[in-house]
């Protein structure tokens, strides 16, 4: 059962990556990146690695905040 759940979550991750690559606005890319790290944490819990999931959750939040701090000084619209 867990394997199918993992496969679904992985498909979600692949979808998010495609959205990031072809997205136009940087702010949505960063927000989607936060969702990406949340789903990765959920994936680690399904796989039975709670330590890694705990670390991924906290570090995902911190790196997203760093991205947003930098995003304030960068032009949001991309070509």
């Amino acid at each position: 059962m867990t394997l199918i759940l993992e496969a679904i979550l992985l498909l979600g991750l692949i979808g998010i990556t495609v959205a990031i690559i072809f997205g136009k606005d940087l702010m949505t890319s960063v927000v989607i990146y936060c969702a990406f790290s949340f789903i990765t944490m959920f994936l680690y819990i399904v796989m039975g690695a709670p330590d890694v999931a705990f670390t991924e959750a906290v570090i995902g939040v911190i790196s997203t905040v760093f991205f947003i701090i930098i995003l304030r000084s960068v032009n949001r619209k991309t070509k």
Partner: protein, 252 residues
Amino acid sequence: MTIIMLIVVITVPFIAFDVLPAIGDPESPPNSHVSDYYIEHAIDECNSPNMVTAVIVDYRAFDTMFETTVMFLAGISVVLIMANKPRRRIPSPGDFKRTRNTGGTPIYQTINKDVMISTIEPLILIYAMYVLFHGEVSLGGGFQAGALIGMTYLLDVMAVKRDKPIMNLTKFMSAAIAGLGPFIYALTGIICFIGGGLYLQYNKLPFNIHEAELHSIGITAVEIGVTIGVAGTIITILNALRERISFDDDND
């Protein structure tokens, strides 16, 4: 397009080579060769039911020491890269507005921002202490506790409007403290020399206590070092980034 071509190039040999073991079976090499020793001996050798912490801090402690050094290194390099004196050739709109020291926190008062977050922060810190000291019994450990402390500082600086941040660390002081963390870790290793053992051999620590207790002393000291290192680094990176980014509220 390049992406489709890249995926095809990588997946074709992948199907050809049958190299990787099936995911779930317990008899596959990684699950049988070395890990059984870790699982069986984690409790009586390292006195820590949480086998992952035992692997990180006792069997492969040398890895984690350099892991904390990588965190310290990231903190210093952000300080260094941000430490240039900018000759602004391309004036950014931020220059003309006076940058307030609020770090972009919204001026308006709201119940959840000011009241709630100020009450939640001590709880998060207590939880971080719990995660730190119960590293080997339940889940958690140095990294998670340090990241939690860093996140509390981040939450406070970004959300609550205060004239001075709670910990009031300049960029230099927090980088120095971030350096102290891994040094505590290295020091526990060096103390093992005095006890006559090899580097980071906890049962040779010079205190005359029962050997299992020595392991937990070693693990706790090392976890404290890791926590201080990780928390100091996150605070350093945050200070360095916030200092140079010109925040202004009415930015679209």
